[in-house]
Amino acid sequence: MTIGLVHFLTIGAFLFGLGLYGLLTKRNAVAVLMSIELMLNAVNVNLIAFNKFTAPADIIGQVFAVFIIAVAAAEVAVGLALVFSIYRDRSTVQVDDLDWLKW
């Protein structure tokens, strides 16, 4: 069976699912950030697969993927800075300890 669009999209779906599972079940804030990175990668795989198989003459899917990579880099930098800042204040990075807004 030749490898087509659906196969790549399935890989993207599995990556997204694993990222979602990590996002929902991890307690460590850095692990949550890593799960978000997995989900963003899944989106990029989908975009580039669609670009190749449905509109190969245009390159727009790849341009969009570059923008997503840039936004993801900004996201991980700010996210880690927040983790550092919280760690300095509270000496913990477990997300379920960060519940001071709960009354």
Binding site: A13, F16, A65
Partner: protein
């Protein structure tokens, strides 16, 4: 022959990517998770090469495999103390998370395999980097500049957040 090779390469890269992504999510040791995350990024870069997106593959290795992986490792090293083997525990929502993920994944896979995709038979643009440069600096020049601005703002914000605001 090359079709067989393509298929084999696809399945090998898929198992590498999905397997190491599963390692990121399942392992209890946060540092091992980070190493598997770098492996996942490299596997995804391989998939990009198979999708004839060489430029994005190079960017993926540089930005994700290099910068993001190193930032994550740095983040782990600066925020962990004590036993690294239990540094990434699961919360008590494991079952519910698996349920949500499973149903999302099932819906996605069902939708993917039942949709009649409009596959185009046009040939792919020969080299992607010049075409990306063209559209980035012509059609998408405003998003390009905004992305540059966003990165600058994010980096300054990250430095200020990590350094800590000064008390007057």
């Amino acid at each position: 022959m090359s079709d067989t090779f393509y298929t084999i390469a696809f399945y090998a890269l898929s198992f590498l990517t999905i397997g190491s992504a599963a390692g990121v999510v399942m392992l209890r040791n946060l540092f091992h998770s980070a190493l598997f995350l770098a492996l996942t990024f490299v596997g995804v870069a391989g998939l990009y090469v198979m999708l004839s997106a060489e430029f994005i593959a190079a960017v993926q290795v540089l930005v994700y495999g290099g910068a993001v992986a190193i930032m994550i490792v740095l983040g782990i090293m600066l925020t962990q103390r004590g036993n690294m083997a239990e540094s990434s525990p699961q919360n008590r929502w494991g079952l519910l998370g698996a349920l949500v993920t499973g149903s999302t994944l099932a819906t996605l896979i069902w939708a993917l395999w039942t949709t009649p995709w409009q596959i185009s038979q046009e040939p792919m643009t020969e080299s992607s980097a010049p075409a990306i440069a063209q559209s980035m600096l012509q059609d998408f020049v405003a998003p390009f500049e905004i992305a540059a601005l966003l990165l600058t703002v994010a980096m300054i914000g990250a430095i200020i957040l990590a350094k800590g605001a000064k008390d007057e």
